[in-house]
Symmetry: C2
Subunit: 207 residues, 2 copies
C-alpha cells in the first residue's frame, strides 16, 4: 500500500520526487538491500541527499517511512465509498474502494512487492501494518455510516473488506504474473461468498 | 477474551485463584476503577497480596496481564478446529471454534465486559489486542491447513472468523441482555453471508 508521490520538475525535464518521496524511496531501497534493523535514519537521509534532521522533520521514526502514502490511500478509499452508486450494498461499496487501491498499487507494482517483503520480515513492521489497516477499516466504516449504514453492519463490511484485501494481496505477491490485483480481489471476494454459502448449505467438505 | 483460572483450595474450602489469576483479577479491577495508565505494577501486586518482583515473574509488563488466558483460548480454538466433524467446511470449523470461545466467555460475562471496556479506552491496549487476534487467526489458519485446507483459503476463513467474532463481541457488549454471544456469532455470520450474496445479486440498497 506504498505510494510514491513524484512531482514533475518542468525545468529539469524529469521526474523529481519531493523530499518526503525521496526519503521514502531511499528508505525502501535500503531496507530491502540491507534490512530494516540495519538501516539508520542518517543513512536514509544521506541516500536521499538530505540531512538526518530533515528526515525527522518529515517522519517521526524509521517505521513510519514505510507507511508514507497510506493517508492518500485512505482518502481514495473514503472518497470511493462516498461516490459509490446509490444502489450499492455496503460490501459492494467497499469492494469498489479496494479495487481502486488495487489499481493504484498496479502503477508501481515493484514498489508494492518490495515494501511487502520488508514489512513481512519484521515483527514490529507487521504490527504497525495491522494498526494501519485497522485504521483504514475504521475510516471505511465511517464512510459507510455517512451513507446511513448502521454502525456494526458498516464495521462488518469494512473489516471483511480488509481481510479480503490482505488475502488477495498475499496471493498477488505469492504468484507474480498470475493475475492483476483488482482481478484477484474479485476472485477472493467470490471465494468468501462461496465459503459462506457453503457453510449454511452443502459445505465444500474438508478432506 | 479474558479468562480467570481459579484453583479450588480444599483446606480453605473456597475458590482461591493462583498467583497469576490473582494478579490478573487485581489488575482488571484496578484498571477498571482508576484507569490503565494510572495503575502501577506495584499496586497490582499489593492488591493481590504479592510483591512487585513476583508480578514481573508472572508477566513481562502491565499490558500483558490483560491477555492472561489468551493462550488457553487459542488452545481451545485450535483443538475445536482439529476436532470438527470431517464434512465441515473451513468456515464452519472456524465458526465452531468461535462458538466455543463464546461459551467460555459466558462463564464470566462481567469480566469479559469489564476487560473490553479497559482495552477500548487505551490505544496501546487496542493495538496489543489487534496483534493477539492476528496471532489467533494465524493459529486457526494453521489448524485448518493441518486438515488439508490450502494456505490462503485457510487464512481467508480464519481472518473472516476473527472479524465476525469482533463485530459479534461488540454487539454483545453494546446490547446487554439482547442475546448470548454464541447466538450473536451465528447471526453475524449469517448477516455477512447475506451481504456477500447481495453483492453479486440484488444488493440490499444503501439509502
Amino acid at each position: 500500500m506504498s505510494v510514491t508521490v513524484v512531482t514533475y520538475d518542468r525545468v529539469m525535464g524529469r521526474w523529481e520526487p519531493n523530499a518526503r518521496g525521496r526519503l521514502a524511496q531511499a528508505a525502501l531501497a535500503l531496507y530491502a538491500a540491507q534490512g530494516f534493523e540495519q538501516t539508520t535514519a542518517a543513512e536514509i537521509a544521506r541516500a536521499a541527499g538530505l540531512t538526518e534532521r530533515s528526515f525527522f522533520r518529515h517522519f517521526p521514526d524509521k517505521r513510519e517511512v514505510l507507511f508514507y502514502g497510506m493517508d492518500s490511500v485512505r482518502d481514495l478509499v473514503v472518497q470511493t465509498i462516498a461516490d459509490a452508486a446509490s444502489p450499492a450494498g455496503p460490501l459492494e461499496a467497499v469492494a469498489e474502494a479496494l479495487a481502486a487501491v488495487g489499481g493504484l498499487l498496479l502503477k508501481t507494482p515493484e514498489i508494492a512487492r518490495q515494501r511487502a517483503g520488508v514489512v513481512s520480515a519484521n515483527a514490529e513492521l507487521r504490527e504497525r501494518e495491522l494498526v494501519k489497516l485497522a485504521e483504514m477499516a475504521t475510516a471505511m466504516a465511517a464512510a459507510l455510516r455517512e451513507r446511513g449504514v448502521p454502525e456494526l453492519v458498516a464495521s462488518l463490511a469494512a473489516e471483511t473488506g480488509i481481510v479480503v484485501y490482505r488475502v488477495a494481496f498475499a496471493r498477488w505477491i505469492a504468484e507474480p504474473g498470475r493475475a492483476d490485483l483488482p482481478e484477484i480481489l474479485v476472485q477472493t471476494m467470490a471465494e468468501l461468498k462461496d465459503m459462506l454459502a457453503g457453510r449454511l448449505a452443502s459445505s465444500p467438505a474438508l478432506p
